[in-house]
Amino acid sequence: MRRRPTTEAVFAALGDATRLALVSRLADGQPASIAELTAGTRITRQAVTKHLRVLEGAGLVRGVRCGRENRFALDPRPLGDVQEYVGRVSQEWDSALSRLKAMVEE
Protein backbone atom coordinates (compact mmCIF):
# COMPACT_ATOMS: atom_id res chain seq x y z
CA MET A 1 0.00 0.00 0.00
CA ARG A 2 1.23 3.44 -0.85
CA ARG A 3 1.73 5.82 2.02
CA ARG A 4 -0.24 9.00 1.85
CA PRO A 5 2.12 11.90 1.13
CA THR A 6 2.43 14.38 3.97
CA THR A 7 1.41 17.99 3.80
CA GLU A 8 5.11 18.83 4.10
CA ALA A 9 5.86 16.80 1.00
CA VAL A 10 3.09 18.58 -0.91
CA PHE A 11 4.27 22.02 0.16
CA ALA A 12 7.91 21.13 -0.38
CA ALA A 13 7.01 20.00 -3.88
CA LEU A 14 5.12 23.21 -4.62
CA GLY A 15 7.60 25.48 -2.86
CA ASP A 16 9.76 25.65 -5.94
CA ALA A 17 9.14 27.86 -8.95
CA THR A 18 9.99 25.20 -11.52
CA ARG A 19 7.72 22.59 -9.99
CA LEU A 20 4.90 25.07 -9.50
CA ALA A 21 5.28 25.89 -13.19
CA LEU A 22 5.19 22.20 -14.10
CA VAL A 23 2.02 21.74 -12.05
CA SER A 24 0.56 24.76 -13.83
CA ARG A 25 1.50 23.29 -17.17
CA LEU A 26 -0.23 19.99 -16.32
CA ALA A 27 -3.25 21.61 -14.71
CA ASP A 28 -5.37 21.36 -17.87
CA GLY A 29 -5.60 17.64 -17.13
CA GLN A 30 -3.80 16.58 -20.30
CA PRO A 31 -0.83 14.25 -19.70
CA ALA A 32 2.37 15.62 -21.24
CA SER A 33 5.65 14.05 -22.25
CA ILE A 34 9.02 15.29 -21.06
CA ALA A 35 9.72 16.54 -24.59
CA GLU A 36 6.54 18.63 -24.46
CA LEU A 37 7.39 19.90 -21.00
CA THR A 38 10.81 21.12 -22.08
CA ALA A 39 9.76 22.47 -25.51
CA GLY A 40 10.42 26.19 -25.89
CA THR A 41 12.58 26.37 -22.76
CA ARG A 42 16.26 25.88 -22.01
CA ILE A 43 15.48 23.55 -19.14
CA THR A 44 17.11 20.16 -19.63
CA ARG A 45 15.26 16.86 -19.74
CA GLN A 46 17.26 15.77 -16.71
CA ALA A 47 16.16 18.78 -14.68
CA VAL A 48 12.50 18.28 -15.60
CA THR A 49 12.73 14.57 -14.84
CA LYS A 50 14.19 15.33 -11.42
CA HIS A 51 11.38 17.78 -10.62
CA LEU A 52 8.72 15.36 -11.88
CA ARG A 53 10.10 12.72 -9.48
CA VAL A 54 9.66 15.12 -6.55
CA LEU A 55 6.09 15.88 -7.65
CA GLU A 56 5.47 12.14 -8.01
CA GLY A 57 6.77 11.58 -4.48
CA ALA A 58 4.27 14.11 -3.18
CA GLY A 59 1.48 12.36 -5.07
CA LEU A 60 0.87 15.39 -7.30
CA VAL A 61 1.97 13.78 -10.55
CA ARG A 62 1.78 10.24 -11.83
CA GLY A 63 3.32 8.58 -14.86
CA VAL A 64 0.96 7.45 -17.60
CA ARG A 65 1.97 5.09 -20.37
CA CYS A 66 0.63 6.20 -23.78
CA GLY A 67 1.68 3.57 -26.29
CA ARG A 68 5.47 3.63 -26.33
CA GLU A 69 5.64 6.99 -24.65
CA ASN A 70 5.79 7.97 -21.00
CA ARG A 71 3.60 10.88 -20.10
CA PHE A 72 2.93 12.69 -16.86
CA ALA A 73 -0.45 13.68 -15.48
CA LEU A 74 -1.44 15.91 -12.59
CA ASP A 75 -3.24 14.39 -9.61
CA PRO A 76 -4.76 17.33 -7.72
CA ARG A 77 -6.04 15.30 -4.74
CA PRO A 78 -3.16 16.00 -2.30
CA LEU A 79 -3.90 19.72 -2.58
CA GLY A 80 -6.68 19.22 -0.05
CA ASP A 81 -3.96 18.86 2.57
CA VAL A 82 -3.47 22.62 2.48
CA GLN A 83 -6.35 22.85 4.97
CA GLU A 84 -4.44 20.64 7.40
CA TYR A 85 -1.48 22.94 7.07
CA VAL A 86 -3.59 25.99 7.95
CA GLY A 87 -4.78 24.11 11.05
CA ARG A 88 -1.20 23.51 12.14
CA VAL A 89 -0.18 27.15 11.58
CA SER A 90 -3.19 28.11 13.70
CA GLN A 91 -1.91 25.95 16.58
CA GLU A 92 1.54 27.50 16.27
CA TRP A 93 -0.03 30.95 16.68
CA ASP A 94 -1.78 29.73 19.84
CA SER A 95 1.54 28.70 21.38
CA ALA A 96 3.29 31.91 20.33
CA LEU A 97 0.47 34.05 21.73
CA SER A 98 0.52 32.27 25.06
CA ARG A 99 4.24 33.10 25.30
CA LEU A 100 3.48 36.72 24.39
CA LYS A 101 0.78 36.84 27.06
CA ALA A 102 3.13 35.47 29.71
CA MET A 103 5.73 38.05 28.72
CA VAL A 104 3.58 41.20 28.81
CA GLU A 105 1.58 40.20 31.89
CA GLU A 106 4.52 39.33 34.12
Binding site: L14, D16, A17, T18, V23, T41, V86, L97, R99, K101
Partner: protein, 155 residues
Amino acid sequence: MAEDRIEKRIELRAPIARVWRAISDYREFGEWFRVALEGPFELDKTVRGRILHPGFEHVVWEAQIEAMEPERLFAFTWPVLANVDKAAYSADYTGLPRTRVEFRLEPTATGTLLTITESGFEKLPAELRGVVFPRNDGGWTQQMKNIESYVGTHA
Protein backbone atom coordinates in the same frame (compact mmCIF):
# COMPACT_ATOMS: atom_id res chain seq x y z
CA MET B 1 -16.09 26.35 3.00
CA ALA B 2 -12.35 26.57 2.74
CA GLU B 3 -10.64 28.05 5.74
CA ASP B 4 -8.11 30.39 4.19
CA ARG B 5 -7.58 32.74 7.09
CA ILE B 6 -6.55 32.53 10.73
CA GLU B 7 -7.90 34.95 13.31
CA LYS B 8 -7.01 35.03 17.00
CA ARG B 9 -8.30 37.45 19.62
CA ILE B 10 -6.58 37.60 22.95
CA GLU B 11 -7.21 39.83 25.95
CA LEU B 12 -3.96 40.91 27.61
CA ARG B 13 -3.75 42.37 31.08
CA ALA B 14 -1.09 44.88 30.09
CA PRO B 15 -1.14 48.48 28.88
CA ILE B 16 -1.26 48.99 25.12
CA ALA B 17 2.21 50.60 25.13
CA ARG B 18 3.65 47.45 26.70
CA VAL B 19 1.97 45.18 24.15
CA TRP B 20 3.08 47.40 21.27
CA ARG B 21 6.68 47.16 22.46
CA ALA B 22 6.50 43.37 22.71
CA ILE B 23 5.31 43.21 19.10
CA SER B 24 7.25 45.97 17.38
CA ASP B 25 10.63 45.74 19.13
CA TYR B 26 12.58 43.08 17.26
CA ARG B 27 14.32 41.76 20.38
CA GLU B 28 11.07 41.40 22.32
CA PHE B 29 9.27 39.95 19.32
CA GLY B 30 12.10 37.46 18.90
CA GLU B 31 11.80 36.39 22.51
CA TRP B 32 8.18 35.23 22.40
CA PHE B 33 8.23 34.21 18.74
CA ARG B 34 11.51 32.32 19.24
CA VAL B 35 13.51 33.87 16.45
CA ALA B 36 16.86 35.69 16.57
CA LEU B 37 16.31 38.70 14.32
CA GLU B 38 19.22 40.52 12.70
CA GLY B 39 17.80 44.00 13.01
CA PRO B 40 14.81 46.19 13.86
CA PHE B 41 11.46 46.21 12.06
CA GLU B 42 11.22 49.11 9.63
CA LEU B 43 8.40 49.97 7.26
CA ASP B 44 8.87 48.54 3.74
CA LYS B 45 12.03 46.73 4.82
CA THR B 46 12.77 43.03 4.88
CA VAL B 47 13.88 41.59 8.21
CA ARG B 48 15.63 38.27 8.55
CA GLY B 49 16.59 36.04 11.42
CA ARG B 50 17.17 32.51 12.63
CA ILE B 51 14.40 30.31 13.98
CA LEU B 52 15.21 29.21 17.54
CA HIS B 53 12.89 26.18 17.73
CA PRO B 54 15.05 23.09 18.33
CA GLY B 55 15.47 21.18 15.09
CA PHE B 56 14.65 24.20 12.92
CA GLU B 57 17.73 26.33 13.53
CA HIS B 58 18.69 26.01 9.87
CA VAL B 59 15.54 27.89 8.80
CA VAL B 60 15.78 31.57 7.88
CA TRP B 61 12.90 33.68 9.17
CA GLU B 62 11.96 36.44 6.74
CA ALA B 63 9.29 39.11 6.69
CA GLN B 64 8.55 42.25 4.72
CA ILE B 65 7.12 44.94 7.00
CA GLU B 66 3.96 46.49 5.55
CA ALA B 67 2.47 48.56 8.37
CA MET B 68 3.77 50.10 11.60
CA GLU B 69 1.21 52.36 13.24
CA PRO B 70 2.24 52.71 16.87
CA GLU B 71 -0.18 51.08 19.33
CA ARG B 72 -2.61 50.31 16.51
CA LEU B 73 -1.33 48.11 13.72
CA PHE B 74 1.74 46.07 12.85
CA ALA B 75 1.67 44.02 9.63
CA PHE B 76 4.06 41.99 7.53
CA THR B 77 4.06 39.39 4.79
CA TRP B 78 6.13 36.24 4.91
CA PRO B 79 6.63 33.25 2.65
CA VAL B 80 4.72 30.03 3.18
CA LEU B 81 7.48 27.87 4.63
CA ALA B 82 6.42 24.29 4.82
CA ASN B 83 9.63 23.14 3.18
CA VAL B 84 11.71 23.22 6.37
CA ASP B 85 12.89 19.63 6.34
CA LYS B 86 16.68 19.90 6.53
CA ALA B 87 17.34 17.70 3.49
CA ALA B 88 14.97 19.57 1.18
CA TYR B 89 15.32 23.06 2.64
CA SER B 90 16.32 26.03 0.49
CA ALA B 91 16.74 29.56 1.86
CA ASP B 92 15.77 31.04 -1.50
CA TYR B 93 12.16 32.10 -0.98
CA THR B 94 11.79 33.69 -4.42
CA GLY B 95 8.47 32.84 -6.00
CA LEU B 96 6.93 31.30 -2.88
CA PRO B 97 3.36 32.25 -2.00
CA ARG B 98 3.21 34.74 0.89
CA THR B 99 0.67 35.28 3.63
CA ARG B 100 -0.04 38.56 5.43
CA VAL B 101 0.06 38.78 9.22
CA GLU B 102 -1.65 41.65 11.05
CA PHE B 103 -1.51 42.57 14.71
CA ARG B 104 -4.31 44.96 15.71
CA LEU B 105 -4.30 46.54 19.15
CA GLU B 106 -7.23 48.13 20.98
CA PRO B 107 -7.27 49.48 24.53
CA THR B 108 -9.78 47.92 26.92
CA ALA B 109 -10.81 48.66 30.53
CA THR B 110 -8.36 46.05 31.80
CA GLY B 111 -5.58 46.20 29.27
CA THR B 112 -5.30 45.45 25.57
CA LEU B 113 -7.29 43.46 23.06
CA LEU B 114 -4.93 41.96 20.50
CA THR B 115 -6.30 40.57 17.24
CA ILE B 116 -3.99 38.62 14.99
CA THR B 117 -4.96 37.63 11.48
CA GLU B 118 -2.99 35.65 8.96
CA SER B 119 -4.54 35.72 5.51
CA GLY B 120 -3.66 34.59 2.02
CA PHE B 121 -3.64 30.82 2.46
CA GLU B 122 -6.03 30.61 -0.45
CA LYS B 123 -3.20 31.79 -2.65
CA LEU B 124 -1.64 28.39 -3.05
CA PRO B 125 -4.71 26.54 -4.29
CA ALA B 126 -5.84 29.70 -6.08
CA GLU B 127 -2.59 29.86 -7.96
CA LEU B 128 -3.20 26.36 -9.11
CA ARG B 129 -6.85 26.98 -9.82
CA GLY B 130 -5.92 30.06 -11.82
CA VAL B 131 -3.84 27.99 -14.16
CA VAL B 132 -6.24 25.10 -14.56
CA PHE B 133 -7.24 26.68 -17.83
CA PRO B 134 -4.09 28.43 -19.02
CA ARG B 135 -4.83 31.49 -21.09
CA ASN B 136 -2.21 30.74 -23.68
CA ASP B 137 1.09 29.02 -24.28
CA GLY B 138 2.88 32.34 -24.11
CA GLY B 139 2.22 32.48 -20.39
CA TRP B 140 3.78 29.12 -19.82
CA THR B 141 6.81 29.87 -21.99
CA GLN B 142 7.37 33.16 -20.20
CA GLN B 143 7.04 31.42 -16.85
CA MET B 144 9.67 28.88 -17.82
CA LYS B 145 11.98 31.63 -19.06
CA ASN B 146 11.60 33.48 -15.77
CA ILE B 147 12.77 30.49 -13.81
CA GLU B 148 15.68 29.47 -15.98
CA SER B 149 18.14 31.35 -13.83
CA TYR B 150 16.61 29.77 -10.76
CA VAL B 151 17.14 26.28 -12.13
CA GLY B 152 20.64 27.22 -13.20
CA THR B 153 21.65 27.90 -9.64
CA HIS B 154 19.74 25.01 -8.05
CA ALA B 155 20.47 22.18 -10.47
